[in-house]
Structure formats: C-alpha cells, structure tokens
C-alpha cells in the first residue's frame, strides 16, 4: 500500500461521518487505528455495559461528543425493573477526568440523577448540548443546575423523560447573559413554567431555531413567543401523535393530502376495546397508496389482513422501519383466518432496506423463515406472541446477517434455539427474551460457552434472591438479557439480576 502520511489519512477520515465507518477503518491496521482514535470526535456507545467508560475515554482522547444508551428497549413497556441499571454517573465521572472538553452529551434510557446533572453542569466549560431521551431519575432541580452553570448552552432537548417536578422555576435559572440557545425542548415536563421568563429567554436568544414547549404553556404566551422569535423553524407544543380515532377515513384524508409523508405513527386511543373509530387495515392500505415516500411506520390497530399487507408491500417498497402492532395477541387475518405469515413475508420481500421490524398478530414459524430469507438488512426485530417452535428463532439467527438487536417476548423459543449458534450473539448488540421457554440451564450453558457475553437473568419473584438457592436448571427464566461486552460482568447489578 502506498504510504500516506498520517495527516493525509486523518484528513480522509474526516469525511467519514458515521461511527460504523470509523470503526471499520480502525480495524485495518495499527497505524490507521491510531490515527482514527486520535481524530474521533463523536463517540457512540450503543450499550453502556459493553465497555467501561474509562476505556472509551482512554481510546478517544479527543472526544467532544458522547452518546450512550442504557436500558434495553423493552424497558419502555415496563418489562425492565426500575433499578436494573443504566446509570449515567460512571460516564459523567469518567468524562470529567479524561475529557473535560466534552461539549455534547446524549443519553438514552439511562438513569440520571440531579447530582449527575449538577456535576455535569459544573465540570465542562465548553458544554453545548444535552439531549436526554427516555431517561429518568432527575427532577427540575437538575435542570436548574444545567441552566445555571452551563453558560453557552446551545441545546437542551428532553424527549419523553420521566422528570419529577420539584416546582423550581428552572427556566429562570438561565442567566440573563445566556443568549446562545438554539434548541430547547421541554415537552415532557408536566409542570408549569413562568410565561414571562420563557418569553424573555426566547427574546434574548437570537439563534433559537427549535422550541418545543409543554402543554402548560398558554396560547397567549405562545403568541408572544412566536412574535419574539421570528427565526424559529421548529415549534411544538407537545408531540403531535395521531390517535386512531381519526379512523380509516381520517387516514384516507391524510393519504390524499400528505404526499410527502415519510413517517407516520398511529396510536390507539382505547386499548381496552375496539371503538368504532379505530383504524384497520384499510387505513394502512390507503396510506400506503397515497404516500409512496413513506419509510417509517408505527401502526396500532385491531386487525390486519394478509391482503392488506401484501398491498402495502407493493405500494411502499421503501420502508426502513415497519412496526405493526395488532392489539390482540395471536389475532389472525379476520377474513381468512390465516396467520399473518404471508403478509409480513411480503413486506420483507419487498422492502429491501428494512432495518427495523416489529411483528404482531398470529404468526407461525413460517414468517421467521421469510424474515431470515429476505430481510438481509434487518437490524432490529421485535417479536411478541409469535412462532411455534425453536425453528422460528433459528431461522432468524441464521438468516439475518445484520441483526443487531433482537427482542422477544412470550414466544415458544427455548434452549435449543438459544444455543443453536452462540457465536451469533457476539455479532449483535443484544438479545432480550422474556416469558419464553428458555431455561436456567440453557442460559448457564450460553454463559459458559461465551465468556464475552453477559447473560443476565432478571428474576423478580419473591424469595429467590440468590442464584445458589435451589433453582433447578429446568426452571424457565422470566427475563433474560444477553449482550456482548468487553467489560465483563457489571458491578452495579441489583439483587434480582444475576449475571451468569
């Protein structure tokens, strides 16, 4: 290979934005590894327990921006106990020591306390952007600390967090001299904010482009704000989620008017029973025929037919995210009484770039055969109440080469499937299985074979605190979370989490 001086290589690497590309080039040779690691500015850690924070900071001394994810996705649906883990503190502390030049921090599904926010606020003089997504453990006091000490803060983005309201007027803590805000999102907060303070803040931040308020802000206030921030590009008053009470007719209207629609999310308004105004497969078909650019869908409905899915697959071959949730588990096609294997099979066959898929309805092993066969780009798969036998899971693990996250609940997959190809799990970020047929013995076998996987069993039933207490290997585990790691078993696991 022609010799390139490091500066040149570094310059070339500057063009590599994505961390995956950078990861790839860093494995080419030692020289490139060094060049890359010294020049990487944005560090992404998909699983906070895959690697220790100190090691990350040591490898990337020039880190300016850090993004870390904590709990497994199913934590969103209360399947992961509150104190399972995912603490932000070790990361913040490590950054304080090793990367005081940190500017951006993005945390997802992690536990962040007010003290953590306080430490963060005081330790990084160049701090510009804090994004917290689906985090919990902090209150408005922590936000007050951020507002007070982060001079020069540009972005404060709180998405779907659980924030306790301690009544503190945290917004007033932004200093009068703080004029640097570009983006502010506090839509997930439940408490009120002082309208005058908000208006003044907006008025003195000429660079403000994105503002997402919570529902406590009044219309009059909104008026004032808009008047004072003429350069706002993005204004929100809470998430605009489409509820399914707009019905199929409503969706048809959307289909006929929103030709550029790329992402759609339809949530159920009544999860206990089908209302007359809920959506069905017709709505989805209408959307698919009217919005050919649709690439991301989250759709809750009460029923779905194979025919509809086949039509959708034909109309919209560009799906990258397709998440369908039929609210009743195991519900077949109501017209034909068939499982929905063919419908989902059509989706994966047609959508070659599908990266994320969530299944529901009545499904047999056949659908997994299709997925393994066709969904080559699939990275994340969520399965619930589906499949007949271990074969289903084996099809997935064998076929989906790019699979990174697999989450399964309430499926009849057991040890045979789990242990079929243990090396596969090192190519994935994580595997979640709950209420399946996996036994303790199976998990132990997996842990024994693969030392670089953490096999965590979450066992919440009372009276069984220790692994050593006579639990037979035949005992089915309630919840299992397996992830690759170079950090070994974690030391902050609570009692009910056993790392095998």
């Amino acid at each position: 290979m022609t010799y390139f001086p490091e500066e040149v290589v570094e310059h070339i690497f500057d063009f590599l934005g994505s961390h995956r590309d950078r990861n790839a080039v860093s494995t080419v040779c030692k020289a490139w590894y060094h060049v890359e690691r010294l020049s990487r500015l944005n560090v992404f850690v998909g699983n906070c327990y895959a690697i220790r924070p100190e090691r990350v900071m040591a490898r990337f001394p020039g880190m300016k921006s850090l993004s870390v994810k904590g709990k497994p996705h199913f934590a969103d649906y209360n399947l992961v106990p509150y104190d399972w883990g995912g603490f932000a503190l070790p990361w913040i502390k490590a950054a304080v020591r090793r990367s005081p030049g940190l500017e951006d921090l993005r945390l997802k599904r992690m536990v962040v306390t007010d003290d953590d926010l306080d430490l963060l606020a005081r330790s990084f003089p160049n701090f510009r952007s804090l994004v917290l997504v689906s985090c919990e453990g902090f209150s408005t006091d922590g936000l007050a600390a951020i507002a007070t000490y982060c001079r020069g803060l540009r972005e404060l983005d709180l998405q779907e967090n659980e924030v306790e309201d301690h009544g503190r007027q945290w917004l007033s803590c932004f200093h009068e001299s703080c004029t640097s805000l570009v983006s502010l999102n506090f839509a997930c907060l439940k408490g009120e904010v002082n309208a005058g303070v908000l208006e003044r803040l907006v008025a003195r931040c000429p660079n403000l482009r994105s503002l997402k308020l919570n529902r406590a802000v009044s219309v009059e206030s909104l008026n004032e704000i808009v008047a004072r921030a003429p350069y706002l590009v993005d204004l929100g008053t809470g998430s605009f989620a489409v509820l399914d009470c707009i019905g199929d007719k409503g969706l048809a209207v959307v289909a006929s008017t929103c030709k550029e629609l790329q992402e759609l999310r339809v949530f159920p308004s009544d999860i206990y029973g089908a209302g007359a105004t809920s959506v069905t497969e017709e709505g989805l078909v209408a959307i698919s025929s009217g919005c050919p650019k649709l690439n991301s869908l989250l759709y809750f409905c009460y029923q779905m037919t194979n025919a509809a899915l086949i039509t959708v697959a034909k109309n919209c071959p560009h799906f990258t995210r397709f998440r369908l949730c039929i609210l009743d588990p195991w519900k077949p096609d109501p017209v034909t009484n068939q499982p929905l294997d063919e419908g989902f099979g059509a989706i994966v066959r047609s959508c070659k770039n599908l990266r994320r898929l969530s299944l529901s309805g009545l499904l047999t092993d056949q659908v997994f055969l299709y997925i393994g066969l066709y969904a080559k780009c699939l990275e994340m798969l969520s399965i619930a109440f589906a499949g007949d036998s271990d074969k289903g899971m084996v099809y997935i693990l064998k076929g989906c080469k790019n699979l990174r996250k697999l989450e399964i609940r309430d499926c009849p997959f057991g040890d045979i499937a789990l242990l079929n190809d243990v090396a596969k799990y090192e190519t994935m970020r994580s595997l979640w299985m709950s209420s399946c047929d996996v036994t303790l013995g199976g998990c132990k076998a997996l842990a024994a074979k693969m030392p670089r996987l953490n096999v965590e069993i979450i066992n919440e039933s009372e009276g069984t605190d220790k692994l050593e207490e006579n639990i037979s290997d035949l005992h089915k585990v309630e919840k299992m979370y397996v992830y690759r790691t170079v950090a070994g078993p974690r030391n902050d696991a609570p009692d009910f989490v056993w790392t095998l």
Partner: protein, 474 residues
Amino acid sequence: MLEEAIPVVPYDVSAVEDKSDSQPETCREQRAFVPLSPALSEPCSKFPFLVRFTAAVSAVLIPPFIALRIRVGLVQLVLFPELGEFWNFERRCCRGKERVKSFPLFRKRFLLSVSLGTGHCFIRFGHSLSILGPLEKIGMEEGLRGGVCPQLLDLMPNKRDWIVKDDGRGGEMKASQLEVESLELRLGLPASEVEKDPSVLSLALFYKSSKTTTTTNNKNHHCAGSKRGFFGTFESRTEGPQQQKTSGANLKDELHQSQERKAAHEAPENASAANMNSQTRSNHNMSNLSSLSAWHINIRAASVPLVGWPPIRTFRKNFATGSSKPSPEPQSGDLQSKVKLENCKKGLFVKINMEGIPIGRKIDLSTYNSYEKLSLAVEEHFRDLLAAQKDPSTADTLKDGEKQVFTGLLDGTGEYSLIYEDNEGDRMLVGDVPWDMFVSMAKRLRVIKSTDLSVINVQDQYAGKELQQSVELY
C-alpha cells in the same frame, strides 16, 4: 412420565390462596367435603394450576330446567343441577334472553384449579362450592389419571347431589343434546365480536360430549379442542396449523398488583400435538401437558391486561385513554389536547339508588379516578339521607353507625355493598375490574344490603317449581 414433564408452577400455590380462607365464616358456610367416588379419596393439590377470576352468577330459566349461569367475561358456564351436568351456551342465546330468562344473583371472585394428578378440576367460591367433574366427563380424554382427588364440596345441605356422578356416563346426553350443535362456547378477546369474529377462541369448557362439537362451527374451534382442550383455547383455523394458541391468562389478582408482578403468561404449545405432529412435540415435554398445564382463558375482558402490552409508553396510554391525572388544561391550540377533549368523557352521570331510600341521586363517574373516591362520594350522597330517615333524636350516636354502614362498600364486608348494572343489565359487584373499564361499563349504581348478595331463594322466583333448594353461595 407425567411427573417429570410437569412444568414448574410459576406461582407458589399457597400464595394464591383465596383470602377469604382467613376470614371467619358464619354458620351459613358449607364445608362438607364429599368425595365424588370412593376411589378418589386423598386431597390432591399436586401441581394445581390456579387462576383467580371474577364471575357473575345468575340463575337462568331454561325450560324445563333451572340452572346457574356463571359468566366470566365472554365465557359462560351453565350448571344444571338436575341433570348433574354442565353446559356451555352460545352467548347470544343467553344474552338475547329469547330463550332463557336470567336473574342476576351476584358477582364473586373465584378460584379455578386444575389438578393434574386426577385430571379433575374444580372451582372454589371461597370454601363453599366446588363444581367438579373428572375431566373425561367434561371432555378431557388425555391420559390423565392419577388417583388423587381434589376436595369436593357438597353444595346442598340436604345432600342433593348435583355434582356429576362418576358413573362413566361419558357420552350420554339428555334431550337438550339436540341443542348441542349450536352450542359452543366462544371466547372472544375484548376487541373482537363474539359472533362474527372467527378469531374468537373456542373453549370447550366442561363440555361432556366432545364428539358432537367437532361437527359444529369448524371455523371457530377445533374438534380436538373439546377432547383435549378442557382449558385449552384454540384459535380458529382450518388447515393444519401447527399450533393451537393459548391466550394469555392472567394469573394475577384482579386488583392491580405492582407492575413487578409479571403476568403469568405462558404460551406453550397446546396439545394440539395430540392431533398433529406429536413427534415435533415430543421434545417439549412441557407442551404435552400444555392442555392442562397451561390452561389459558382469555379473561382480559374482565381482568388486568398483560404486562407491557400493548407496547406503548405509559404516558401515551394515559393520554390516549383520557384517564390521565388532571393536567393543567391547556388553552393552547394544541391538536393533541383537542383530540383528547373529544375523547374525554363528557361527564358520565349515572343514577345511583340506595336500598331503603326512595330518592336516588346522580353522580358523575368521570370526576373520580378510583374506587376509593367513588366509595367516599357514595357515602357523602347518602349519609344525610340515611340519617334523615332514622330517628333524628339519636343523630349523634348514629353518626358512627353510619360511618360503619358505609365501610366495606366495595369488598362486601360492610353492611352495604355497591353494585352496578352494566350495559347488558347484569348486576356486578363494584371493584373487580380496572377503573377505566368499570367507568365504561357501568350504567347504573345501587347500594344494597350485603346480605342480599349471598342468599338466594330460588323457590320464590319460580313458582310452581319443585326445586326446594336454597342455594347459599358465598
């Protein structure tokens, strides 16, 4: 063989004991234990699978019989004392009240157990009733003999035997057998319509003659369903599906437990293997037993939903069902809040009457968000009226009495109980379903004396009938 294949019961049996065990019962309690047959002599609790559910019990008149109808959500079971048999009825036949007259009695929490050893199953109403049949009599023909017997209780004080006699009358049916073909118990998930939706699960519960059901309504169940599926529930399928699904049963107590308690949801394969490729199932010892071991009735219509299902973030759920805590009502042009307001209950006023008080009231259910608050409100409404009716001179001493009058409104322990009428006219005890469901179902409320709940004198209702029994059920 049976032993090793039995899956570990996820719940400690003792933990699920009916709470009423610990309550001192009055002398009205029936506790006679009478085994069904001499061969079944030892109490059996070996690997019982227990499910707690709440059912509405009513007396139905199906000429020429009088029967007890026990209804759980969309499942119902009709008990013919004279025949000593159990039937299941298509729901519409009873609901339409064309053919049957129904007299709601009460609503009670039951414990349903299946004993693997003998293949018996029984229902306990506290301690006072077990309905039982050996499973082969009620459709179970898998090789589940064990030789031990669960406890059976004699229902009638005068020993009138209305439990199925274990005399091997397996297939014998009475005249009403003609109705068998149209009789089929269907289980529907909350979202589905019972009659039309082919995905309705069919539950051949307590069905004696398994053979006849095979011919009926194929689309809704499997023939094998009744044979094997004592508690098996089956998805409607026509061509060889690989599996019979069991829907999630919730082994939780109906009252909400903490979210850490997972739903006892097992979804093992059903013993459809018996009909289908049992070879594929041979590896799965668990599944061979699944027809019993994992009996699953979908009782979500009457109970708490599965944990973590549907997969929606909590804050969206609260928003969507309009039951969120009162948030500062935005006056902004928020699309979301507009939709919410449309969804919101526009004040749910229901009439409430109290026994002994001629004047009823109206209360707005949407202003309460829990049963406790409702109970307090009821107390407020009627306290004064009650006082006014009693001797005013002793008003002071009565105050305490009144307070006591209204305690235990919801759990049946007080002097009065709160019941409601749902949209079908059935009367149910308040407090058994999640609050939101209750609000959507309740059309009318009544405060009645608790004693009225439990004593039913059938004779009064059916003049001219020979039935002398006074059925006392707790």
